[in-house]
């Protein structure tokens, strides 16, 4: 169906179901309950889940398939963001032109960076991409201030000269919209103690992510995807089979750059502002973490990794000592304090430490990331019938 095998189609349908029902799934705890702080079903965070999902899916097309480790992908995301906000400032606050331009500009920029960086491989490639990204960051911060707004970045203003639309009635700043449907508008549903928010911006971003995900499945399963895996596996044989690896890797690089640009454009569509820190190398490092954590070279892994990191960043990081004391309150006082002291460094503000440890664990023990972990667990339980059948068959990237 849709040109996919049965297995891939079920995976796609699973992701469709998860993203469409996310406002329910992510808000499992009733409002006001002690567990409510673990609810992730608010628009802002849900948007981030899917946008970084797109970013990671794109990164995975490059790293997961070809093995080229880029440490500068945030530059493309940033460039896409700047392109999008200019479109909104000059043309219209409708998000379509903004996103289209974001993808095109990011694609062109990644074509230049990729063309140069791909002349080297291995660590040299990583350093070159890093150097380009840091340069873009520094320039956005300083020289290009007229274009980027420098340190403060760019926002929408009511003084912006939008050619295709008139200023909103009664002054005020017009908001990002899709043919009048504003990204910020939400519908709230209250069911007993539960509260669910359905946000326009989230659903639009989610649909874009589903399209991006579907496209990545097609790429993974295409002869092009097979060639990319072949390059990763043995570049020498590739050359001696009459194939030129460079255009393949460059195409993968540009595609992943365009994914990053799309993510950057969506960020602006959801929250109409942009600053240079979006291009800093830590942002590039983050997408590396997401992809590896979820499972590089797997289809669903990057999305899971993005979700996990964003969840930790926004939810786990908010747990403070008082909350911990409540959790362990059932224990005797001394043990309670001990538990809190032991657990506290790893959550709340220390969530990065947990992330670093999990990441190291994944690199050391689970090169296939969370997806491989899931498969191993599934195999453990499903031993006997399913597992054996699966082992004898090839298990291509899921």
């Amino acid at each position: 169906m849709l040109g996919l095998t049965k297995k891939d189609f079920s995976l796609l349908m699973l992701v469709v179901a998860l993203t469409m029902l996310a406002p329910f799934i992510l808000n499992p705890f009733p409002e006001g309950s002690a567990m409510a702080q673990f609810n992730a079903g608010y628009p802002d965070l849900m948007q981030r889940f899917v946008i970084f999902g797109i970013f990671a899916i794109g990164f995975n097309i490059l790293f997961g398939l070809t093995g080229y480790l880029s440490f500068g992908h945030a530059a493309f995301l940033g460039v896409g963001s700047y392109a999008a906000i200019w479109m909104m400032k000059l043309l219209t606050t409708n998000i379509i032109p903004a996103m289209v331009l974001a993808v095109i500009i990011a694609g062109l920029f990644s074509l230049i960076v990729g063309y140069i960086s791909l002349r080297r491989s291995g660590i040299y490639f990583s350093i070159l991409t890093l150097a380009f990204a840091q340069m873009s960051f520094a320039m956005a911060y300083s020289v290009l201030t007229p274009l980027t707004g420098g340190e403060t970045g760019l926002q929408l203003r009511n003084t912006d000269a939008r050619i295709l639309e008139s200023a909103p009635d009664g002054g005020g700043i017009s908001r990002a919209n899709l043919f009048g449907l504003e990204m910020t508008s939400s519908y709230e549903l209250t069911l007993g103690a539960w509260e669910f928010t359905f946000n326009v911006g989230y659903y639009i971003a989610a649909i874009v992510m589903l399209l991006a995900f579907y496209l990545s499945i097609r790429i993974f399963r295409s002869p092009f995807g097979m060639m990319l895996r072949a390059i990763k596996s043995n570049n020498t044989r590739m050359n001696y089979t009459g194939l030129n690896a460079k255009p393949y890797t460059l195409a993968a690089f540009v595609i992943s750059g365009m994914y990053a640009g799309l993510a950057g454009g969506l960020m602006v569509a959801m929250d109409t502002q942009v600053g240079p820190e979006r291009m800093f190398w830590t942002a590039s490092g983050e997408v590396v973490l997401m992809t590896i954590l979820g499972g590089a070279g797997t289809l669903i892994g990057p999305v899971l990794g993005a979700g996990m990191i964003k969840y930790m960043e926004n939810i786990i990081s908010k747990i403070n000592e008082t909350i911990l004391h409540q959790w362990f309150a059932f224990m005797p006082d001394g043990i309670e304090d001990l538990m809190v002291t032991m657990v506290y460094p790893f959550i709340g503000k220390g969530w990065h430490l947990t992330l670093g440890l999990i990441f190291m664990g994944v690199v050391i023990f689970l090169p296939g990331g969370l997806v491989e972990g899931g498969q191993r667990i599934a195999r453990l339980f499903g031993k006997g019938k399913a597992a054996d059948a699966k082992d004898t068959q090839s298990t291509p990237a899921e």
């Binding site: 095998t5 995807g225 590739m238 001696y240 030129n244």
Partner: protein
Amino acid sequence: MGILEVKNVNKRFGGLQALGDVNLSVAENTVHAIIGPNGAGKSTLLNVLVGKLIPDTGSVSFEGQSVLGRKPYEINQMGISRVFQTPEIFSDLTVLENMMIPIFAKRDGAFRMHAIEAVGSEKSVIEQAEHMLESLNLADARHDHAAAMSRGNKRRLEIGMCLAQEPRLLLLDEPTAGMARADTNNTIDLLKQIKDERDITIAIIEHDMHVVFSLAERITVLAQGSPLVEDTPENIKGHPKVREAYLGESA
């Protein structure tokens, strides 16, 4: 005029004369072996033929066209395939995928982007690949990872991948090095079968005299970077110069 003509090729590495005035002509549809003691320049010559090294002087032409200065993938597209000393295959891919890639390359050239259509819909490519695997007796392993195969089967697969491109010249670099006797014999049989079934020229660099004398129709002996003699296997066997070259090495 042979299919492959090497004329007056010289190659120095620093002070070392790796190839000195090499002239070689490989006739079409023959099996031509290049033998010689260690350090005779066999690998250097091979690397010149596939475009990995550029000689200091001289010319190398294939079917009348110069190969010098071309990239390995371009030379491959001219119709020269190479089998490596240690099998170079796509270990992370399945056996079937390994076989499909040269077929794609044959069909599409150095680069063509099929990014949307599924591999599974390329029926004719799959069919050709399966057919090829069957003729190599590797069909049962088609969904295994290539890395999981035995050394002998990796060699078979690599040779098969080269043949799938329908090259007019097949270069083999010590194809049985490090192989057990049974695998060596299997490889010899496979190469004999190829020779009988196809219009193909085979140039083979080999150490193992058993392999050389089972296959070769012409033999060139290299010593210290230059061809010593070139003749039929019968005449090479008792040739005093050849004995000297080999004995000189062992003494």
